[in-house]
Amino acid sequence: MAEVSLRNVVKRFDDVDVVRNISLDIPDNEFVVLVGPSGCGKSTTLRMIAGLEEITAGDIYIGGEVVNDLPPKDRDIAMVFQNYALYPHMSVFENMSFGLKLRKFPKEEIRKRVDHAARILDITELLDRKPKALSGGQRQRVAMGRAIVRNPKVFLFDEPLSNLDAKLRVQMRTEIKRVHQMVKTTTVYVTHDQVEAMTLADRVVVMNGGVIEQIATPQDLYHHPKTRFVAGFIGSPAMNFLRCRLEQNGSGLRVRLSDAISLPVPASQSARFQALAGKELIFGLRPEHITEPRRNDRDKQCEFAATLDVVEPMGMETMVYFTVDGQEVCGRVDPDSATGPGEAMGLYADMDRMHLIDPQSGAVL
């Protein structure tokens, strides 16, 4: 049980800055997910917390103590690897007890802890098997078991579900969440999968190009992204980004997307954007906020027509793709209201959910 802090941490490989000056505070028992595209520095950050990579500059604290120069074994952490990293010549029991044995725990204590962890993970019957006789999901459980028995200050997960098939991944995701709720321990979890990040995390840290783009709760991240990168990275399908011009319209503002389409900025947000009137900006709106027209007169202004290029039925909803001024836009509509490809469809933009982005800085305004 401990809090983890990173202060101005830098990692340089040769001349490449992989992690550039990041700071992060993780309170006790929190589940934090580092998410970002490959090469964003998330795994390197995790490995620096683990002590598997030296840090070039900055400080890392675990439980209030600077651990910069401590070897991994003295940091009281446990790590779950992407490829499980189970010792192939040892049984499940031996794999789980290896760390305790090295730390000279008494035999009964080891037995007790392994049994306890095996019960939590439902792998009691597997204790005598070798890793090669286990399925991918079972191996992942054993890898988690190996972490749990140590009862460490911090759990570190390095893309633990990437090697599993889609169905198992969803199952193990729930499992990890359940285990965290049972074994309350500070957890840092690295993934490139934003769905994993959203579902597991107390707080999500979005990284890109070696810097932290935003730290927020999943809901906050989804509704209030701070940068264009975060807005585009979180959510699937990704948010639509369209060039636009903010126009003054009487006392209100309108977002002009093309000659034909101009949408009103909600009155509640007009004041905020007033200073930007006349500027070229980027308009961001998630596919789920482009829907079939609502039966509500107030929203009539937010309706527009588009000719659909592609229609993808998903069952509970249908994805429609069309272009606005040469840019592809995705909408998420009720299956009953979708027309066919090549046909016109009336659509509605939920302007309360719109984002305006500065094209130069990429900041959400």
Partner: protein, 300 residues
């Protein structure tokens, strides 16, 4: 065309394809077996000749008119009896075992440690050192024995099998290290990281993780070291000259060939007995040997 007609039209064609596939397979098998038989005969003739000659009496071996390929005058184990009782063969055998066991032990300790540090603990110059070690293996012992003579003499081990224990590792350590580097490198990096986090030091990582996981590679290296030191000829030829220090390879030849008198029967018997231990070891460990060599070859 109706579906039924389409199926009917396609059927003979697919049967034809299947027939030609099985014909291809049959021809491939026949060709393989023909060559396998040729090679088997080719390789089995020398041992067969050895067995036949070892089981003959001296008189029959010397008699030029008899067929050398069969035992005509009755089997006899005299050659083996005389070899084991009236020559120094057993001394050679004992010396060879002492030398080989020591060399294998020294080689394994040195090359496992060297391979672990070179293959796993990246340090300045480690890759150059690894290449350098392999290059030393490329220098043949027929060149090395002259400078080595000076060294063996200087340390006072000339005409002592302990000198062999000193020089054989120059042949075995480089190759074994090289095999082991390849094998250790094929072990996923996460395994040592997991061990590090679990609290293992480098020595524990080596003994508890690397050696057990790389066992096939280690056994392959052991067999190699065993074969080299069991069959070494140039060094004992150059450095050993009294019978009580001699090893099997050179000892058998020098004691059983006197001038131009070749004791063929006993030579063959000696060769057979000398070949027995490697044969037994190969038979038991062959699977490991192959697994080890291929792992080193493809991933190293």
């Amino acid at each position: 065309m109706s579906t039924a007609a389409a199926v009917a039209a396609r059927a003979p064609q697919s049967r034809g394809v299947r027939a030609s596939l099985s014909r291809n397979r049959r021809w491939a098998l026949i060709t393989s077996y023909v060559f396998l038989v040729i090679f088997a005969i080719f390789f089995l003739i020398p041992p067969y000749y050895m067995v036949v000659t070892a089981l003959k009496s001296d008189a029959e071996v010397a008699h030029m008119a008899t067929n050398p390929w069969i035992v005509a005058d009755g089997f006899t184990l005299d050659q083996f009896k005389i070899l084991l009782t009236q020559t120094d063969f057993l001394i050679f055998f004992k010396n060879t075992i002492i030398v080989t066991v020591s060399v294998v032990a020294i080689t394994m300790v040195v090359s496992v440690l060297a391979a672990f540090s070179l293959g796993r603990m990246k340090f300045w110059g480690s890759s150059i050192l690894a290449t350098g070690i392999f290059l030393t293996y490329l220098v043949p012992d027929t060149l090395l024995f002259i400078p080595l003579f000076q060294i063996v003499k200087a340390v006072g081990l000339l005409n002592s099998y302990w000198g062999m224990i000193l020089v054989y590792p120059t042949l075995t350590v480089p190759f074994c290290t090289w095999i082991m580097i390849g094998y250790f490198q094929s072990i996923p990096k996460e395994l040592d990281e997991a061990a590090l986090i679990d609290g293992a030091g480098h020595m524990q990582m080596l003994t508890k993780i690397f050696i057990p996981v790389a066992l096939p590679g280690i056994i392959a290296a052991m067999i190699f070291a065993f074969t080299v030191s069991w069959a070494a000829f140039v060094y004992p030829m150059a450095f050993l000259y009294s019978a009580d220090q001699q090893v099997l390879t050179v000892g058998t030849v020098t004691s059983l060939i006197r001038g131009d008198v070749y004791k063929w029967g006993m030579l063959m018997a000696g060769a057979l007995v000398a070949a027995a231990p490697p044969l037994v070891i190969y038979a038991f460990l062959m699977d490991y040997y192959i697994a080890g060599l291929t792992a080193g070859a493809t991933k190293g």
